[in-house]
Each structure stands twice: as structure tokens, then as C-alpha cells.
């Protein structure tokens, strides 16, 4: 059973992701959400991060409305969360490794969405959707790489400070919390 405090933290993190998403919504496929999921994963357990992703998607649905993409968000963002946790022991706090992984996620995100469309509308739609979106997957991958390279270190310092305050103990490194 999670404490009320934990639920509030999860809700606030989901709102933070949502605000970050809306702030950059006008720039196609440039987003902070992938990086923020990495940072959240540094101090939250897997189940809590998955809850953040579900609440984030519900917020998206409440604001932008229900669409086939919402169903996609419900499973594609959790896939990213699983990938992050799988690579956490390997990447530790290496900025370059997270940046490369985040860049590769930019490509995978488009491929998974194409797969999602394939399940809903058929194989031809999947291929058409994927080909149509390749150029935007490139933007997603490059922007993820650059954003993670530039913002991972300063943001992780802030996240660690906030996590220390929240948990009432000093965070010495990201690895300690794995």
C-alpha cells in the first residue's frame, strides 16, 4: 500500500511530464518526456514510474481527447520505462550512454507507433505510417540525443536534491538508489 505522500509525488511527476510535453508541443517530435522518465527512474522504483506514465497518458487524454494514439501511449511509454530500468545498471550516470539510448528510443518510438497502427488498421497502414514518419523519427532521435546530452547532468543534480529532501536522506549518487 502506497502512502498518500507517494501518490502525491507520482501525481506531481505526471503533471510535470505533461507540462513539459505541452511546453514543447508546437515543435514536432522534440520533447523532454523521454529524458524526464530517465531522471524519474533514478530515484523511483519501477512500479511507481509505470504509474507516472499511466497518469501522464490519462492527463493527455483529458486535455487532447481520446484517440488511437492514447491507446498507443498506454503501452509505448511503459515500454520506454522498462527499457530504462533494463539499462540502468549498465548506464549508471554516464550521460553519453543515456543520450545514445534516448536517441535510439526516438527511432523505436516511431516504429512502435507504426506497429500500433498495424495492429489497429492492418499491415499496409503500418508500412505507410512508418515510411511517412521516418523523417520525424530522425528529428525525435537527434533532439533526444542533444537534449539528454545537454540537460541530463544539471537536471539530475536537481532531481537528486529534491529526492534527498523527499526521502529525508542525502543522495550520494544515482547508483546508490538502484
Amino acid at each position: 500500500m502506497r502512502s498518500v505522500r507517494t501518490w502525491i509525488l507520482i501525481s506531481f511527476l505526471a503533471v510535470g511530464l505533461f507540462v513539459a510535453q505541452v511546453a514543447l508541443a508546437s515543435i514536432p517530435n522534440v520533447e523532454l518526456v523521454s529524458l524526464l522518465f530517465i531522471l524519474i527512474s533514478l530515484f523511483l522504483p519501477l512500479t511507481a514510474t509505470l504509474l507516472v506514465s499511466f497518469i501522464f497518458t490519462i492527463l493527455q487524454m483529458m486535455i487532447w481527447g481520446m484517440g488511437d494514439w492514447v491507446l498507443g501511449y498506454f503501452w509505448i511509454w511503459p515500454v520506454w520505462v522498462f527499457i530504462i530500468y533494463a539499462f540502468k545498471p549498465l548506464n549508471k550516470s554516464h550521460v553519453e550512454r543515456w543520450a545514445v539510448l534516448s536517441g535510439l528510443w526516438g527511432f523505436l518510438f516511431g516504429a512502435l507507433f507504426a506497429l500500433h497502427h498495424g495492429v489497429l488498421y492492418g499491415f499496409n497502414t503500418m508500412i505507410a505510417y512508418y515510411i511517412q514518419g521516418i523523417s520525424f523519427d530522425i528529428i525525435h532521435a537527434v533532439s533526444n540525443y542533444i537534449i539528454t546530452s545537454l540537460a541530463f547532468t544539471p537536471l539530475s543534480v536537481v532531481v537528486c536534491k529534491l529526492a534527498s529532501k523527499y526521502q529525508g536522506e542525502k543522495y550520494e549518487s544515482h547508483d546508490k538508489n538502484r
Binding site: 514536432p28 515510411i131 521516418i134 523523417s135 520525424f136 530522425i138 542533444i146 546530452s149
Partner: protein, 144 residues
């Protein structure tokens, strides 16, 4: 300039080159020359059928022609450089109030355009190429 910045700028330049390259390779490649296109507008107030001869490569270009020749009054949203091109916001007096929230939007289908049949749906006006003899049906609908 330190090593990290050189790396980031290189990735950015490579990304821009790849983006422009794929955009060029995947650009709508319409068929040049004269084509006969039928536009069927299904609507209680402005419903009509138009048969037009055009050299337009895409549905967007055809609508520009129809707008200039005053056969239809077309309202677009966004611009050609948007990720999915312009949106068809209005035909004559039937206009979507808000392209994000609707409540109704213009949609189109074609049972004889190769791309529409192959994909199972038609593309946005600036990506939808035209073939001689194509029939497009337009209707103004919300989510049902």
C-alpha cells in the same frame, strides 16, 4: 569549441541532412499532366459534385485552383511545411470551428485512388496525390 560541442553540432548537422534527404525522397510524387478529377461534397447545405480538369499534383494544389477560380471557397489551417501539411478547415460556409476540438471535421475517401485504397485511408491534402479519373468524396463529420 570543446569536444562535446563538436559532437553535438555534428549530430545536429547529420540529423538535418538525414531529415532533408528523407523528406526529399518521400515527397509526394504526383502524376504530371492533365487529369479528370471528381469531387463529391456530401453535405445538406453545400452538397455538390464537381468534375474538373487539372494539372494539379496534389489535392491541396487542386483546392488552391478551385479557390482561385472561385468554384469553391477553401479554408486551410496550418502551412505546407507542417509535419502533415495543411489541414482542410472549411469548404464554402462549412468550416471546422476549432481544428483541435472540432466538433466536426472534413474527411475524405476515395475508392479508386491507388494510395487511398492501398493504405486504407487518404493522406492530408498536401500529401494526397491525384490520378486521372479519381473520385474523392468529402463529408463533414464528428466522432460517432
Amino acid at each position: 569549441m570543446n569536444k562535446q560541442w563538436i559532437k553535438l553540432v555534428s549530430v545536429l548537422v547529420l540529423g538535418i541532412a538525414l531529415f532533408l534527404g528523407t523528406q526529399y525522397l518521400l515527397r509526394p510524387q504526383g502524376i504530371e499532366g492533365d487529369k479528370n478529377i471528381t469531387i463529391i461534397i456530401e453535405d445538406d447545405t453545400i452538397g455538390q459534385t464537381l468534375n474538373v480538369n487539372t494539372n494539379a499534383l496534389t489535392l491541396g494544389e487542386l483546392f488552391e485552383e478551385l479557390h482561385q477560380t472561385q468554384k469553391l471557397t477553401i479554408t486551410f489551417s496550418g502551412s505546407k511545411t507542417d509535419p502533415f501539411g495543411r489541414g482542410l478547415q472549411g469548404i464554402n460556409t462549412v468550416i471546422t470551428e476549432n481544428m483541435s476540438a472540432g466538433p466536426k471535421w472534413w474527411g475524405w475517401t476515395s475508392e479508386n485512388n491507388t494510395k487511398c485504397v492501398q493504405d486504407g485511408y487518404c493522406l492530408g491534402v498536401d500529401y494526397q496525390t491525384l490520378e486521372d479519373g479519381n473520385i474523392f468524396v468529402f463529408s463533414f463529420k464528428g466522432f460517432e
